[in-house]
Symmetry: C2
Subunit: 270 residues, 2 copies
DNA sequence: GTCTCCTGATTTACTCCGACATATTACGGC
DNA sequence: GCCGTAATATGTCGGAGTAAATCAGGAGAC
């Protein structure tokens, strides 16, 4: 019937046919919505993960017992336990018989896990953490650009060129433009031929994605980011390692500056 | 009575009082042993994780159905599912109703997760991957040393001095010495005051730990690593950022060289 | 008299089981 | 060729029983 109309909304598959009981229970608690492809335990993990990342539970806190908490959340123990296993796998909590499930110290958290990163940015982001991420980015990306300039294949260059063109067409104000931005940086990391770099790319890309959203939130971008990207592309394309590293360094610094001023509206960042 | 005698076997706490049925089932499959603090689903996740990391299952492969596989592994469906949730959280697999559980492409794997890293080094390590990790290390650690030189507190310096002293006492041939080595590098990462760095420290530290074991496996260390570390310490202690970065660069390069020659015995590394 | 070590009881997570609900794929009818 | 229907595997549920770690109590040594 109207299934076709729903399809026409394209892109992200909207939550459609849902079980009534479970979602009401979660929605009632103000928690994460559940959609297709998003199982109950996944939504639970999201809910609990954001609660921990937002400081609602601090390291050392011990969660209520399985039976009590599962009942409070209106889910079965199975679903609750599976959610806890997810959090355990990401280093957020640890459970032991008799001792209960307690939140681990922050340094045990896998903060570079893309999902944890998403949880960290679900609420108001920690300004200090964003600064740390950009600092990491300012170390990784110039080095990656240097390696990419030395090792890039024709195919890598083509992908980067396409991404750059897409960035020109749409701008960073559109989702398509931001996706192109991610593709551009991702292509550079991949061109290094280093698996570890590619994995970090997923994390850093996620972080950039979230911070970019915050930039957009406050006002129009004051500066055109295309020339910076073009300089990086030209250097990598020409195989000039030093120039690539330097251009990328400039790009990241400027991005950090933009983000800082956008976010600093609330907090007094120097 | 004889409990004391058991203690005298020292080092690794041997699995002692165990449930009989489960462990026999796992041992029979040649799988991961289960000990205190190691739950059944954790052991299962380890077993399946190593199977995936070792290439026993390749991306795109679909695992047997829940009921069939759980029965084959001699565990309940609950325990099996919880193990799968762990693998899902680390990006190794994804399950969908009717479609089954399939192994995701490598770029989706959270290779920087300490546990995944451990699984990767459980069997014969991939030489290319070790090279990638050292390349990442050669980017991160010098930059971290630079930041540490600028920001280190008195306390940081003290921890580093203690670790260095411990390295001198025990050598890298003992476990205590290797722990001191980890502490030293960890202290540097922490001294940067950057959370993201500290998290990476856990990953890189794990990687270094595993590769160091491989170095030990082949032969005595040909070179004394203390002077390299001492140079780094002196530079950081003196607050000389450039010297710290340079000394750390040398240290990592030499470590890579040692590892390469040790591992290259089998594979023909240039 | 105080402290340490051992032993036990209790609480909690862990594991297992069997059933039902739901989502997705694949087949067959229109 | 499109749409509805049925089959199948994952997802969710609730409860029962097991194993393990912590806390409290008591016996022994200093």
């Amino acid at each position: 019937m109207d299934a076709k109309e729903d399809r026409e909304t394209v892109t992200e598959a909207a939550p459609k046919t849902l079980s009534d009981k479970q979602d009401k229970a979660l929605d009632a608690k103000g928690g994460a919505a559940r959609g297709p492809g998003r199982r109950l335990h996944g939504a639970l993990a999201h809910k609990l993960g954001t609660a921990i990342l937002s400081g609602q539970y601090v390291p050392g806190d011990v969660l209520p017992g399985e039976v009590a908490f599962a009942e409070e959340l209106k889910v079965s123990r199975s679903a609750y336990r599976e959610a806890i296993q997810v959090l355990t796998a990401k280093g957020l909590v640890a459970s032991r018989p008799k001792a209960g499930t307690r939140v681990l110290p922050r340094e045990r958290w896998n903060l570079l896990d893309p999902e944890v990163l998403a949880w960290a940015f679900a609420g108001e982001p920690d300004v200090a953490f964003v600064r740390d991420l950009f600092e990491l980015r300012s170390i990784i990306e110039p080095a990656a650009a240097r390696l990419a300039a030395q090792r890039r294949s024709k195919d890598d260059v083509r992908v980067m060129r396409d991404a750059l063109a897409a960035m020109r067409r749409h701008t960073l104000t559109t989702e398509a433009g931001r996706a192109a931005d991610r593709d551009f940086h991702d292509a550079i990391l991949r061109a290094t031929g280093n698996q570890a770099m590619v994995v970090l790319s997923a994390s850093i890309g996620a972080a950039v994605h979230w911070t970019t959203q915050f930039k957009q939130r406050s006002r129009e971008l004051p500066r055109n980011p295309i020339p910076d990207h073009a300089r990086v592309f030209d250097a990598i394309s020409a195989g000039d390692a030093d120039a690539a590293a330097e251009a990328m360094g400039v790009l990241v610094d400027l991005a950090l500056e933009d983000t800082r001023t956008s976010m600093g509206q609330g907090a007094g960042a120097a």
